[in-house]
Amino acid sequence: MEILAVFSPLFAFMVAGIFGKSIGDRGCQFVTCAGVILAALTSILLFFDVGFGGHAYAKEIAPWIISGDFNVSWALRIDQLAVVMMCVINIVSACVHVYSVGYMSHDEAKGRFMAYLSLFTFAMLMLVTADNLLQLFFGWEGVGLASYLLIGFWNHKFSANAAAQKAFVVNRVGDFGLALGIMAIFVVFGSISFDTIFEQVADKTEVTFTFFGHHVHALTVICLLLFMGAVGKSAQLGLHTWLPDAMEGPTPVSALIHAATMVTAGVFLVARMSPLFEFAPTALMVVTLFGATTAFVAATIGLTQFDIKRVIAYSTMSQLGYMFFALGVSAYGAAMFHLVTHAFFKALLFLGAGSVIHAMSDEQDMRKMGGIWRKIPFTYGLMWIGSLALAGIPPLAGFYSKDIVLEAAWADHSWFGNYAYWMGIAAAFMTAFYSWRLLIMTFHGKPRADHHTMEHVHESPPIMLAPLLVLAAGALLAGAVFYQPFVGSPKAGGSAHGEAVTETAHAEKPVAHAEKPQDKAHNQTPATKIKALSADISAEMTEALETVKEMDAEIAQGTDRHIFWGKSLKILPENDTVEAAHHVPKWVKFLPLVVGTLGIALAYLAYLLSPGVPGRIARMFKPLHILFFNKWFFDELYGQLIVRNARTLGKAFWSIGDQGIIDRFGPNGSATTAGKIAKALSRFQSGLVYQYAFVMMIVAIAMVSWFFFKSGLRDLG
């Protein structure tokens, strides 16, 4: 089953990628959608089985590299963390696939687009189901590649190509850190397999590296290197500049990759490596500071942008900051919880924005929108749901997850926890504000678009709206439903850590049924195979449903989050902020909601009731506005400091090093030399037989003389 969940997108990609021409656009769309939907359904089953059944397992597929002490296999690690991610990825991806059928209907390369989407889905699944760091890195680079391809999908646009390159190059910085981190792990632990690493962590806390004569704590170094990778991929402050530019890609791509899934890979990485981070408090502090600062800075930028997609992009960055500081205070469950809810409402917002853009004839500037809410009421309603969820208004998903994140930060009772809490509150206020700024500028007020565009404003086709409904359902309900299992409830006792009795009972359940389809399908004709497979699947469905019923009963009894996460997350007892988060003062709990409502109210005041206010405020705080509007001058700074110098250096290397030395003496030089030698040798081949004989004699005598000479030396010596 896990094979089906992970590899059907790959299969779809291959079919659409290789046979795209012959099966046509329709065929590609069908194959890829079917593949991903199938993956989504199976991963939901897996979620119930593993998440509530506690059947975490790892399945080895094939050996990969065996070289000395370095053994790596292709293996799927299906544990709670993985299935949560798989569900998110596959469901959002399925929605985006279906949505793209409508959104890209005017595009020429539909097949290619769908194939790339499936490739991305597969790579992301590889990333989250990896059983070792190398496979994770494979997925990590795979999503990077797919992201590059999709950002630059409209390759006739110069800006799209530039953005794709920027994303790739900036990510390279992070990947460099990740690769170094993996190597460092191999040095310290002698393995890159998760199980082996996690088993040894407790023994390795005292290990140090010697670096320029200083002893540095090995685990801290490793964690910081890994976090560097996460910073790149999850667009945290410093390496975030690629994310807003990535909005050059088609909107479904932005929804899938740059909001819901790929950018959360960094969060996933830290959560996955939680057993290491737990022993590296310094690294956790750095993570918190990065996350909190990002959340704040991104929100300030989001206040001032006019491009609808960029606003949402900065909002994504800001929300990722939330997740990171949650990780930093050891509230891994809370971070994952926010990741899941965020995936739903942010994908919803992006796809809704896509729907708006679609309606406005590809216009993205909010200053040229407005007054269209009556024409596209459906989209309008969905955007409201998304925005409410984002702003953290109960009972939508964002309320639950954002609150627990902030509470956990406060409950950490450290200076950086407090910093994160207040930064988070500020960001929450701004989030609510810019969300309604977006809503109001886009849908309300006087129409600012030209007459022609306004006439063409139309509701999107059902194929685009249906996925939005699924996501909206997620945005509405995900918070309430998953609050209990993901972060537990105040009622559950804090004593049960990890090895609860119920869990061990479930762990004994055989996992064998996962392999059933393969066993039975062996040596059968395709038709019967499919029948057997579908029979198996339906059998499994019923089985899974029964399990779900059992689970429900248990949930009703108050399932502990420790039972849900099992061993996939590790939290030291003294760091258990999620537990503490349930026992914070009331004002801590209510402050986010209050500032959220305040932000909404202010936005109404400023943009709908007295439209002159924003301009006046902007003038009043001119320096601040300039700073925010220009995104804190990160791009300019990098351009001046790094990009320009790097270009000069690159040119120098290219003209002097590459062309002047390597090409001249390398390929070109050796090629001409080889040609010359060949000419010389063929001139030697005169065709005259006595010359040949002569050569043979000379060589024979030369060899004789050599031995003669040697024996002479020997006799003398």
């Binding site: 080889a674 000419k679 004989a693 031995f707």
Partner: protein, 484 residues
Amino acid sequence: MISDFNLVPLLPEIFMALTGMGLLIVGVSQGNRATPVICAAAGAALSIAALVLLSLGWDAQTVMNGMFRFDEFAGFMKLLVLIGLIASLALSSRYLTQEDMARFEYPILIIFAGIGMMMMISANNFLTLYMGLELQSLSLYVLAAFQRYSVRSAEAGIKYFILGALSSGMLLFGISLIYGFSGTLDFTVLGKTIIGLEQIPIGLTIGLVFLLAGIAFKISAAPFHMWTPDVYHGAPTSVTALFAIVPKVAAFALLMRLLFQPFADMQEDWFQIIYFLSVFSMVIGAFAAIAQENLKRLMAYSSIGNMGYALIGIAAGTAQGAGAVVLYLMIYIVMTAGVFAVILHMRRQGLAVAKIDNLAGLSKTEPALAYGMLILMFSMSGIPPAAGFFGKLAIFNAAMNEGLYVLAVLGVVTSVVAAFYYLRIVKVMFFDEPADSFDKNEGSFARRVVLIVSVLFVIGFIIKPSILYECAMHAASALFTVAG
């Protein structure tokens, strides 16, 4: 009178000799009309000889007054020779009629050359060695000049003959020096004599030098390779195929038996010669081929280069190295047979052509042939997963284990250079404007079978490389069990 008189291990050779003479009688009475029949019969005879060979017990034994040695190594190499002979006969059959040289002596000479080669492989005495060598050489001289109305063919025959005589002279001179020192022609006795020596006298070393010079000519190792391009170019293509495929195996078997058995204790000396020959062969094989326009000449240099790689395995001097050589030769003959099947197919308006340019655009005119050639060329240049890669891998591996880093690195470097001309053929076939297509309906069934088998072998080798590798290792280890 002789204690170890036993003809059983010689049965394949005896059978072949008798069949050869019988077929000659048939040929004389029936004339050239009978050529196709005799070709087929010769093929059948070789196959039967192979079966006879397989049915013998392959336990090591020395018979006929110690002159003839039969062991697993000899058996395996003979099998390779017989397969090579059958393949080259299959490649020839149609070509003979096309080129108007369908004379019944052709298959018979091949059979006799085969007997000579098998004698070389089994030689345990300088007399058998020399007789076998001359038997195969003489047959091959005649075959080279077989197209006697063609000036080129006659030239090839004469050149081969004169230089071959010179090399035989060197060989004999070397043997005479060795005999003069030890008083014996028998390998076993010679080996014992050499083991007992405290210091190798220079006379014996010089004898070995001349001996190796003579054999180096036979395997066309540079710088004794000068005849190769001219003879390969001039001889009828089917004969060139034969030259390229089979005699090398026999000469290599001979070389390995000599060096690993009687001269095992002179490794210090022969190592230097083999090293030198190997380096020269690899370099010349790689570089000189670049300038070639003719496929047959190209294959000549290619075979020189390949012999250089195989010599690395001998230089390693271990059972692993010897096994690698056997494996390498096995893969080499299969690939070469396939390539020559393609070359023999190249005919335009009834005339054989062999320029590289003639292959232009083959992928459009005859895609199946082009893809077959593509695979063979990839294999030749040692690109995985084709079989050629594994041969080189085994060789370089053996060299590395013995610390012969210079040879291994040079081998890799020259492989890269050689890849240039192999891939140039691919480029010409796939990316150049199509030339006129080759004559249709000229392909022969047997030739097609050779090509298909060759391509399948090259691709399929990866499925279970260990089988043939184990076989080769096992065969080669037979050389060491007695010597050690």
